[in-house]
């Protein structure tokens, strides 16, 4: 238990960092400085990394933020988000191949389809909580996987969708370096949308529901409908990431729908820090970079290494990387002010 306060003087002292909303926030200048630094890194990234890896990081950043919207801000652990990432990847690929739209339009079509798919899945899943919610989402994701596997005339089954074009008004985006800058604005918009959702009146209700659903209901909030809305928004953002991933790889394989993809998304968020939003971005960068480095070094059991790191982080830094650093910074800040 935390200590209690009974006087204004005690209350003025910042409480333990909650990582949330107004209770414990970094000073304004620091937040702007972090934002500027983040944007600088985002613009510099393909100069410091293999551009294809940088593209993957952007896509996974969106995926992670989508999962954190549910896990960190609504209290729902989806173990089936590959359904939305993967469905959008396939729809984006199909639209880009058969309709020949510019890739942002194809990605939008993919993300909207993912959001649409999230309506029935979410409707049935939000009636459950905890592990049961995770199991329901996993079950639906497996169904989507098998449909894609069987529906070979459309998805090409195990061969995958080949030759997804990077069409954008005739621009030559075949170089990953330029493609990175073409998708960066879309990714930043997606991240901005997630940030806006978290810091909206709606986001405030979500946090209430996460912390105490019974109390939220007693206040008159229809908890299931709020959770469903969050689920659909999350499906859309995950779909944005999945669609860009398909165009980035110019290829869609069944792996995008596999349960290990859902699991990786959860790992990325836990590693970065649940309920921190930007922690997911950081987690995506670390996991994608690490996996690339391991496979490049000829490592065969990548899962063992990332899994090991995951276990270590969960055991040693329960708040994840972003959350732990934020907690340390907060403590330092509080001790300086006293």
């Amino acid at each position: 238990m935390t200590s209690t306060v009974d006087t204004p003087a005690d209350a003025a002292r910042p409480a333990a960092p909650s990582g949330l909303l107004t209770v414990a926030r970094a000073p304004r200048w620091l937040r702007y400085a972090l934002l500027a630094a983040g944007l600088l890194v985002a613009f510099w990234l393909p100069n410091g990394l293999y551009p294809a890896v940088a593209v993957d990081i952007l896509c996974w950043a969106l995926f992670a933020v989508a999962v954190d919207l549910l896990l960190g801000f609504t209290g729902l652990m989806s173990f089936g988000h590959a359904a939305f990432w993967g469905t959008s990847a396939y729809v984006t690929g199909l639209v880009a191949i058969h309709v020949g739209l510019p890739f942002p339009a194809a990605v939008l079509a993919g993300a909207l389809t993912a959001a649409l798919l999230a309506v029935p899945i979410g409707y049935l899943a939000v009636k459950r909580t905890g592990i049961y919610f995770a199991m329901v989402t996993l079950a639906f994701a497996q169904m989507v996987y098998y449909v894609a596997n069987e529906w070979r005339s459309v998805t090409q089954g195990e061969n995958g969708l080949q030759g997804v074009p990077r069409e954008l008004f005739g621009l030559d985006l075949s170089d990953d370096y330029y493609f990175y800058y073409a998708i960066l604005p879309i990714v930043l918009l997606g991240l901005l949308a997630a940030w806006r959702i978290v810091h909206s009146p709606f986001g405030r209700v979500l946090v209430g529901i996460r912390d105490n659903p019974a109390r939220a209901r007693a206040l008159g909030y229809p908890v299931h409908r709020y959770k469903l809305t969050a689920f659909v928004l999350s499906g859309f953002i995950a779909g944005l990431g999945g669609g860009l991933f398909a165009v980035g790889h110019r290829f869609v394989s069944l792996e995008v729908l596999h349960w290990t993809t859902s699991g990786k998304a959860v790992i990325v968020v836990v590693l970065g820090g649940i309920g921190t939003l930007w922690g997911g971005v950081l987690g995506a960068a670390i996991v994608v970079r690490l996996e690339d480095w391991l496979s490049f070094s000829g490592f065969e059991t990548i899962g063992l290494v990332t899994g090991g790191i995951f276990v270590l982080v969960v055991l040693l830094f329960r708040r994840g990387i972003w959350g732990s650093v934020a907690a340390l910074a907060h403590r330092w800040w509080a001790s300086r002010r006293r």
Partner: protein
């Protein structure tokens, strides 16, 4: 009779796997009254509360609010229709500040909560009213403290503030003074006496002196049934109540 009651129950029953926790309860809560539910542990008071607020579905019977059938409605609908409740075990959002609690309650009927594309700064429109309500329950100076850091009595006061923020027709308080020291009990009684003006209050309460100071009508429950109902003085003198409450003590003599 039933037409005059603001909140009424007819033959309300709830079974838990063969155990009948509430058994055919008739209840009429008159407008602008304070109605206390008392009874020994396990008499079904909290179950009755959960039935009245939609947190449990009745196995049988009927509930009306201002003449409207509300039987079986989910809790958020019941709350929207003007029934606000507090919980026996303090039930707050640990990470939100006291002010954020009240703002969240004030926002509830407006639909602003759906605006995921707007800034939460919009909720500042509720700040003044929230400050007023927090001052009313004596939390003005702790408005920015996170709920998890508040002392027990202050948490109970915050519960009351968020229930009031819903501007309810009926305020249901589940043991508002449970676990409080004498000073906090007095403060809470004064507070309820103040907020009851123009409102209807139903409360579960163990502390008979609190019931005596506040209640217009008292319903005594025993084993899920209504044992006696009437004004406090009358109920207190009723032999059946004395037996129900003091039976164990008498047997010990």
């Amino acid at each position: 009779m039933a037409g005059q009651a603001l909140l009424s129950a007819r033959g309300l029953t709830r079974d838990f796997r063969g155990f009948r926790a509430v058994d055919g309860v008739d209840l009429d809560v008159a407008p602008d009254s304070v109605h206390a539910l008392v009874g020994p542990n396990g008499a079904g008071k909290t179950t009755l509360f959960n039935l009245l607020t939609g947190f449990l579905k009745p196995s049988g019977g009927r509930i009306e609010l201002a003449g409207r059938d509300v039987t079986g409605l989910p809790p958020e609908r019941v709350a929207r229709l003007g029934v606000a409740r507090s919980f026996q075990i303090t039930s707050l959002f640990p990470q939100l500040s006291a002010r954020e609690h009240v703002e969240l309650a004030l926002q509830s009927p407006s639909g602003l909560g759906w605006r995921f594309w707007r800034s939460s700064a919009l909720m500042r429109r509720y700040t003044d009213r929230a400050t007023e309500l927090l001052a009313m329950v004596g939390l003005a100076e702790l408005a920015e403290a996170p709920a998890e850091a508040l002392a027990y009595g202050r948490k109970r006061a915050l519960e009351l503030a968020i229930a009031l923020a819903l501007d309810p027709k009926v305020l249901l308080l589940d043991e508002p003074t449970a676990g409080m020291g004498l000073e906090d009990v007095d403060r809470t009684v004064d507070l309820i006496a103040r907020v009851r003006q123009g409102r209807t209050v139903v409360m579960v309460e163990h502390n008979m002196s609190v019931v005596g100071r506040l209640a217009d009508t008292v319903t005594v429950l025993q084993a899920g049934k209504v044992l006696v109902e009437g004004p406090y003085e009358e109920v207190r003198a009723d032999e059946r109540v004395i037996t129900a409450y003091l039976g164990a003590a008498d047997a010990a003599h």
